[in-house]
């Protein structure tokens, strides 16, 4: 598997925002989802997910609430706020522009 790919901060934010844009999720599920959807390429060190979640919450892009999850357990569920949705949109556009630009550079030889 090799060394897990380092996630630069901005990218992790994007991944988190995108992941919870479908439905509210708890931290563990977010981590699992990112690993799973990326086909085990993106390895999140699970602990470092939480500071990012708390930061995004502090910044007002996501909100958290304690909810019952399956089999009567309580978990902290994160969901996007309206501001977060806008943020996700602009982050996505940024990302697409950046990645297509990088694509152009590395394909052009």
């Amino acid at each position: 598997m090799g060394k897990p790919t380092d996630l630069v901060q901005g990218t992790l934010d994007l991944l988190i925002l995108k992941t919870i844009s479908l439905e509210p999720m708890n931290g563990w599920a977010i981590a699992k989802r990112i690993v799973q959807v990326s086909g085990n390429v993106l390895q999140v060190q699970q602990g470092s997910l939480y500071p990012a979640l708390h930061r995004l919450e502090h910044q007002g892009w996501i909100k958290a609430e304690w909810r019952e999850s399956e089999n009567n357990r309580r978990a902290r569920f994160y969901s996007l706020t309206a501001a977060g949705r806008k943020r996700l949109k602009s982050e996505l556009e940024n990302w697409r522009r950046l990645s297509s630009a990088i694509g152009l550079v590395i394909e052009a030889v």
Partner: protein
């Protein structure tokens, strides 16, 4: 909006810290459980599942900490923790803490006290409307204008919305049922109150119409203080009939509390219209005297007019006036505007100078205190090297440690600031309670206010940065390995920060000690100066015959009766009369020129102080007659006009000539044959102790009477008894008279000596403070240095070093540092000497004896400081110290 959410989150989590903490724990636990379950489902053994989950989680404590950081309350929590930790650390070393706080308190207290003084005297403005627009008119070196000139300037200038004149004067006030007493206040122009824009506390103020016709409106406004003290706060005081110098006046109003005119130090207790000047001072019509400068002039600038423009305008008006009155103005004389409050330039200059000297000395004391403390903290930092090393090794960030060390410093500074404020307010109370023995209402109350508080806080913060930053940076720059092994850093051959601190400490102390010794010696010098009279064994009483309406002939006969009466008293060796006694207020200036030369141009004119004296005055005052004769009973009205001059005047007008028999003129009249000089007396001090030799002319009271009387009697009797005899003799002649300045000449020197005494006390205190700080600072640093070397000394002793060698090695370093510090301090002081020479008299700013004394003193302090630790060092038992380590 986002920041609002953040703020809300911060506040919420601040108040629900415990719950937030529990939720954080829950969240991480929940995550781990899910991961473990998922691992078990994937087929791992429970132990293995748990280990894998933890591995994937990473450094959980760190992540939690990072989460807490995003709660937004981290800084508050960290700060609170730092504070708790700092308090704990400081309490563990009570001696250090007490010494540090006391050192800072002395430094901050001294500065706060000096700042309070400066703020109260120099910066505070009179309680009037828009005080910033008010300016005091200085004309050349004079603060006075004549009243007719004032009126011309008032009517012709274009720069002022109004211009007021006021004449500070003493009156004899009688409020019917009681005896009369002397009160100081203003004869003021009618626009005085409306220009200042204040409202009466009771009754009303007078206005311009009441100042139009001379003698027409005998009305009086009294100060709130006078109303309280002499009218017992009577609400019906308005309308009361009183007498000023025997002339009936009516009280029409009471000024608001704390208002004593625009000038802060000499405050006024009454105001009457200037048009009443003749009634108050019978026989002296200053209202019409074009050539006598008698009033202070204060103006309110028109909006948008700068001081420079106003000065230009006044100079132009002066030029116009001068063209009408020959010999009135000199072309070189210029107007200069200064803020009111300190009688124009007259007091502002000297007080500003004194204030600046005090501020700089207090600043140096604070710097010294900081250096001291920095030294103590450096030593302490070295002690804590081990602790700091451990914390760095455990992953504490340097910023975090720095913050913690600075928290300690801030705590110390806060303690020092609070205690310093206490010290300063005690010092100010002491100063305010200091009453000078004079009847002029001097206002010396110092009131600390919000500005002072801000200053203290700023001083405390500044000191924190100054003394705390260096040691804190030094402390966290620790190399981990040696500090963890607790090995003594054997690098002290190099100059360390501590050495620099010692040098700076000694240099600053030398600077302060030399300065204070110089100033104190110069003041002592001033006190033993030849005053031109002998203050011991003499008493005097003053009175003002013009206040009781005496005319010239009544005055003269009163004078001779008084002199005869006093001379006949038992125990009185000699007695004499002078109109105004030197070194008090009131003496008059006169033009002096040689009668054998033409009337000099304005710029070449000399002025002298003029006194009127009776025969026998010089003997009674103890003034030495150098040449010629004293005046006698033949020098009366109608006889040839004579004068006695002092040596300074003789030197000025008759250099290398015998002045006896020459004539001097006191007017611009070329036909005036002047007064013949019949005697020369020694030069004394007349206006202030610090003055340069002043030319003075004494004329017989028979020939130049002012109605002012100070009778001086030389006696071996106790002063109180002799003064009582004098008082009785005078009141037997006329029981209506108001007497003032009753007592020994020595007591009455209190006022002229006040600035010198105040300076001597303050600077002496600063010098002493500097010495104490230097000694304690040095002692702490040296003692610490020796203590650090205990192990090394033990090894040396064990290896057979003799005590003398060990002692030498301990002393050597300190003495080298001392020598360097003393040299730097001496050089800096010599360089600064030129600044100091402005406040010194009778002593050179490079007086070698003072330097030698200060250097010896500092050397003694240094040796004493290292003697005890050194002596302890050689008594060290080698075996024990080695075992201890």
């Amino acid at each position: 909006m986002r920041w609002l959410a953040g703020l809300r989150g911060t506040l919420r989590s601040l108040f629900r810290r415990r719950r937030a903490e529990a939720e954080l724990e829950d969240e991480f636990r929940d995550h781990l459980e899910r991961e473990i379950e998922s691992n078990i489902r994937a087929g791992m053994a429970p132990g293995e599942a748990r280990r894998a989950a933890l591995r994937l989680m990473g450094a959980m404590a760190l992540h939690k900490e990072q989460c807490r950081d995003w709660r937004g309350t981290a800084w508050v929590e960290n700060w609170a923790r730092d504070l708790r930790y700092a308090i704990h650390t400081l309490r563990r070393t009570p001696l250090f803490t007490a010494a540090a706080i006391l050192t800072l308190a002395l430094g901050i207290g001294a500065n706060t006290a000096v700042f309070t003084f400066v703020e109260n005297i120099l910066l505070r403005q009179a309680p009037v409307r828009d005080p910033g627009q008010l300016v005091f008119l200085n004309w050349g070196n004079s603060v006075n204008l004549s009243y007719p000139n004032y009126r011309d300037f008032r009517d012709r200038n274009q720069a002022f919305s109004s211009l007021i004149a006021c004449r500070y004067n003493a009156i004899s006030l009688s409020v019917p049922p009681r005896e009369s007493y002397r009160v100081y206040g203003y004869e003021a122009s009618g626009n005085y109150f409306e220009t200042l824009g204040i409202r009466p506390f009771l009754g009303r103020f007078f206005g311009p119409p009441e100042d139009e016709t001379p003698g027409a409106n005998p009305v009086m406004v009294i100060s709130h203080r006078l109303w309280q003290s002499r009218f017992a706060g009577d609400p019906n005081a308005v309308g009361r009939r009183v007498k000023i110098n025997g002339f009936p006046f009516t009280v029409i109003g009471v000024a608001p509390p704390h208002f004593g005119g625009t000038e802060l130090i000499v405050s006024a207790d009454f105001w009457v219209p200037a048009a009443m000047g003749r009634e108050i001072e019978p026989g002296y019509n200053w209202l019409r005297s074009r050539y006598d400068g008698v009033v202070w002039t204060i103006g309110r600038l028109k909006p948008g007019i700068t001081r420079r423009q106003a000065e230009e305008n006044l100079n132009r008006v002066a030029y116009e006036i001068a063209s009408r009155y020959p010999n009135l103005f000199d072309a070189k004389t210029r107007f200069h505007l200064s803020p009111p409050g300190l009688i124009g330039k007259w007091l502002r200059g000297p007080i500003t100078g004194f204030g600046m000297v005090l501020m700089s000395i207090a600043g140096i004391v604070l710097l010294l205190a900081c250096v001291n403390l920095a030294g103590m903290l450096l030593a302490r930092g070295a002690d804590r090297r081990h602790e700091i090393g451990i914390r760095l090794a455990l992953g504490a960030s340097k910023g975090r440690l720095l913050r913690q060390l600075m928290t300690e410093s801030v705590l110390l500074a806060a303690g020092g600031g609070v205690l310093g404020l206490g010290i300063a307010s005690a010092a100010c109370r002491l100063f305010s309670g200091w009453r000078i023995k004079t009847d002029i209402p001097f206002e010396t109350a110092l009131q600390p206010d919000a500005a002072v508080l801000c200053f203290t806080i700023a001083a405390a913060l500044f000191t924190t940065l100054l003394f705390g930053m260096g040691p804190a940076l030094q402390a966290i720059r620790t190399d981990l390995i040696p500090s963890l092994k607790d090995a003594p850093l054997n690098r002290f051959r190099r100059w360390s920060a501590r050495d620099l601190v010692v040098v700076a400490q000694i240099a600053l102390s030398v600077l302060l000690v030399i300065c204070s010794v110089l100033v104190v010696r110069s003041l002592r010098h001033a006190l033993t100066l030849n005053l031109g009279f002998e203050p011991r064994n003499a008493v005097s009483v003053s009175l003002d015959l013009t206040l009781q309406g005496y005319n010239r002939s009544r005055s003269l006969s009163f004078d001779s009766d008084l002199l005869a009466g006093v001379s006949a008293l038992p125990g009185i060796q000699s007695a004499g009369i002078i109109d105004y006694f030197p070194l008090r207020t009131g003496e008059a200036d006169t033009l002096v020129s040689r009668a054998d030369r033409p009337v000099p141009r304005p710029s070449a004119r000399h002025y002298a102080i003029a006194y009127g004296i009776s025969p026998g005055y010089f003997r009674a005052a103890g003034t030495r007659l150098l040449r010629g004769r004293d005046i006698d009973e033949h020098d009366r009205q109608g006889a040839p006009a004579v004068a006695i001059v002092n040596q300074a005047l003789a030197d000025l007008l008759f250099p290398n000539e015998n002045p006896l028999g020459k004539h001097i003129r006191g007017s611009l009249n070329a036909a005036d044959s002047g007064n013949e000089i019949v005697g020369v007396v020694e030069t004394g001090k007349y206006e202030s102790l610090g003055e340069d030799p002043q030319p003075v002319v004494f004329r017989p009271i028979e020939q130049a009477n002012t109605g002012q009387v100070t009778v001086v009697a030389r006696t071996a009797l106790p002063a109180a008894q002799a003064a009582q005899m004098l008082r009785k003799t005078i009141l037997d002649l006329d029981p209506e008279l108001t007497l003032y300045n009753v007592g020994s000449l020595q007591d009455q020197l209190a006022l002229p000596l006040f600035p010198a005494r105040a300076a001597a006390i303050v600077l002496g205190a600063f010098g002493f403070l500097a010495m104490v700080l230097a000694a304690t600072g040095l002692f702490a640093v040296v003692a610490y240095a020796v203590a650090r070397r205990t192990r090394e000394i033990g090894i040396r002793m064990a290896l057979g070093a003799r005590p003398r060698e060990v002692l030498a090695s301990v002393l050597e370093r300190t003495l080298v540092l001392c020598a360097v510090g003393v040299s730097i301090g001496t050089l800096v002081t010599m360089a600064a000497g030129r600044l100091l020479s402005a406040v010194l008299y009778g002593i050179s700013p490079r007086d070698p004896a003072t330097y030698a004394a200060a250097v010896l003193l500092m050397a003694a302090v240094a040796i004493l400081a290292c003697w005890n630790p050194a002596a302890r060092a050689i008594r060290i038992d080698p075996a024990r110290t080695l075992r201890e380590e």
